[in-house]
Amino acid sequence: MGALRFLLRRLAFSAALILGVSFILFALINAIGNPIQILLSETPGVSEEMIATLSRYYGLDGNFIDRYGAWLWSIVHFDFGTSIIYNQPVGELLEVYGLETLKLQLPAILLSTLIATAAGVIAAMRQHGWADFSIVSSAMLGHSLPGFLVGIVLILIFSYWLGVLPSYGAYSTRNLMMGSMVIDGLWHMVLPVAMLTVFNTATLTLLMRSSLVDVLRQDYITAAWASGLPARRVVLHHALRNAFIPQLTYLGTLFGLMLGTAPVTETVFTWPGLGALYITAIHQLDYPVIMGVTMVITVMLVVATLLTDIAYVVIDPRIRLG
């Protein structure tokens, strides 16, 4: 089976998946009832007529299938409607808040991959030594601590006691750090990125170590030692690539699930990202925003899975395309 056909099949499958999720999402939101009614019925001075007009304005009248079709048609054109609370196009909100989320998540994923790989390599090469012991125990600790606790401890130490790092927000409201927007932005990123990195690194390190230990036991690695290859080449060229494969799935999941860790992080650090936006929208029943963010999460998960599958094929010649 050719690579193109494999790709097309996966793409078709991904599209079907997204479509399915969109339908379920729409049905669920629909089941809640007319949000305008829910939001305004208690408000004094709001007539039934006004609710009907507003419902028409937000496209909430008409039958289910028509409304689903119309909504689908607009979201494939990147029109997610207008936020009820912010009174702003949801597309714009997704862009602005999404960038803030990426600002935390991408550096955290990159950093944790680097740290976990280095730590995993050290631990696996000194198996059962003290370095291995300390790396494994800290990773276990990081793995079992709740994420928000790490965030709060970081805030306590660096903001409250040492007073060197800001504890909330993405930018200073009054004095910029060192008078520069860029430095100010980076300064605010440090603690939330650190919290996410701790969270990701722990699991990645344990995975990296165990798969590397496994690979280093293989006969083809013994063969590399028997050739007299230096340790650096044996570990980095012969073993690491093979040991990295189990990591791919988890990395893919991390990318796809960025918005799984975002709400907690962004709530702890009052960060204006998609996670915080999502939480607010849910509280306030801002259904266009809820639907927009959910679709973004879905698409990200599906794309991450697709990329992981492709990466597997690229990295492992044994995987048959099918």
């Binding site: 006969d219 083809y220 013994t222 028997a226 050739s227 290859l229 012969h238 492992d316």
Partner: protein, 330 residues
């Protein structure tokens, strides 16, 4: 005359320690596996020493200790008279590589010994990268010659291991060992994981390569008929020790240790109607962890004497070119 390879008093014991909670629940808390216990032998240039014995008797550990792939507890490995164990474990890289180049290893399972994500050419390039770094331009030619020499098409070098059969992969394993023109190749059961039909092809290839390259083999196997085919000498191992060693013809004609006799009589006889004279091995195979006192073979030996239970027999000359460790030789 100094031997090409001389192993003296090689020893490797594993301590089986249960870690953590399992220690609380285990009946047997610790034990020592005497995987290799005082093993000595000589291998001359161009010869083949067959090392035979049942599974778990320490054949692989012996071979890997010789190459320092497993760190032995004691013993010497002399290559042309020089003890190379300190060299292999030492920090002088040039000296270490000089020794590694001369002694190569072929693995039992060709499915596990080739990196699944590397092409055959890439796999064969690795030994050259270390041992012929200055001749990078010749690598391609050398690899093609090697592949031809082991009976593979050089154009198939761009393929991955999973595209080859077991026999073809083992040919690659042999090519990798020969890439650096070694003087000794340690063959660890090179055919036992292959189909019966391909075994003789690989054995013939090994024999032909030995004629062309005058390389010496340590041929590990539990299959005595293949040992008889390819070896000039044979060493029989039982629970970590060599119990009989010598010229192949003499030992097959007249085995003196009762374990050797049992192994030889267990070789299937091809002619129909042949009288079954097999000596059947009685009793369970003892584990290397609880080796019986005295002659470790005594619980299974029909010729055992009272002394066999108490005194460990030592290797003694039994014929012009053989030695056996037995109180009551056959």
């Amino acid at each position: 005359m100094t031997a090409l390879l001389e192993v003296r008093g090689l020893r490797k014991h594993y301590r089986a320690v249960r870690r953590g909670l399992r220690r609380l629940f285990a009946r047997q808390q610790t034990g020592t596996v005497r995987a290799v216990d005082d093993v000595s032998f000589v291998l001359q240039a161009g010869q083949t020493l067959g090392l035979v014995g049942e599974s778990g008797c320490g054949k692989t550990t012996t071979a890997r200790s010789i190459l320092d792939l497993v760190r032995a507890d004691a013993g010497e490995v002399r290559l042309d008279g020089q003890d190379v164990r300190p060299v292999l474990a030492g920090t002088d890289r040039a000296a270490m590589l000089a020794v590694r180049r001369r002694m190569q290893y072929v693995f039992q399972d060709p499915y596990l010994s080739l990196n699944p994500r590397w092409t055959i050419n890439e796999a064969l390039r690795e030994p050259l990268r270390v041992h012929a770094p200055q001749h990078q331009r010749d690598w391609g030619d050398r690899i093609a010659t090697l592949l031809e020499r082991v009976g593979l098409e050089p154009r198939n070098g761009v393929r991955y291991p999973h595209e080859f059969s077991g026999g073809q992969r083992q040919r690659v394993g042999i090519a990798r060992a020969l890439a650096v023109e070694p003087d000794v190749v340690l063959l660890d059961e090179p055919v036992s994981s292959l189909d019966i039909s391909v075994r003789s092809q690989i054995l013939n290839l090994l024999a032909a390569l030995q004629d062309q390259l005058s390389v010496a083999y340590l041929y590990i196997s539990h299959d005595l008929s293949s040992v008889r085919f390819i070896s000039t000498h044979v060493a029989v191992m039982y629970l970590g020790r060599i119990v009989e060693i010598g010229a192949v013809d003499e030992i097959f004609a007249r085995p003196r240790h009762h374990y050797t006799a049992a192994l030889i009589s267990a070789i299937p006889v091809p002619s129909p109607g042949a009288v079954d004279q097999r000596v059947h091995l009685r009793g369970e195979v003892p584990s290397a962890m609880n080796r019986p006192a005295g002659c470790p073979f005594h619980p299974r030996c029909a010729a055992a004497l009272p002394i066999c239970r108490e005194q460990v027999p030592v290797l003694q000359p039994m014929g012009p070119n053989t030695q056996a460790a037995c109180h009551n030789p056959a």
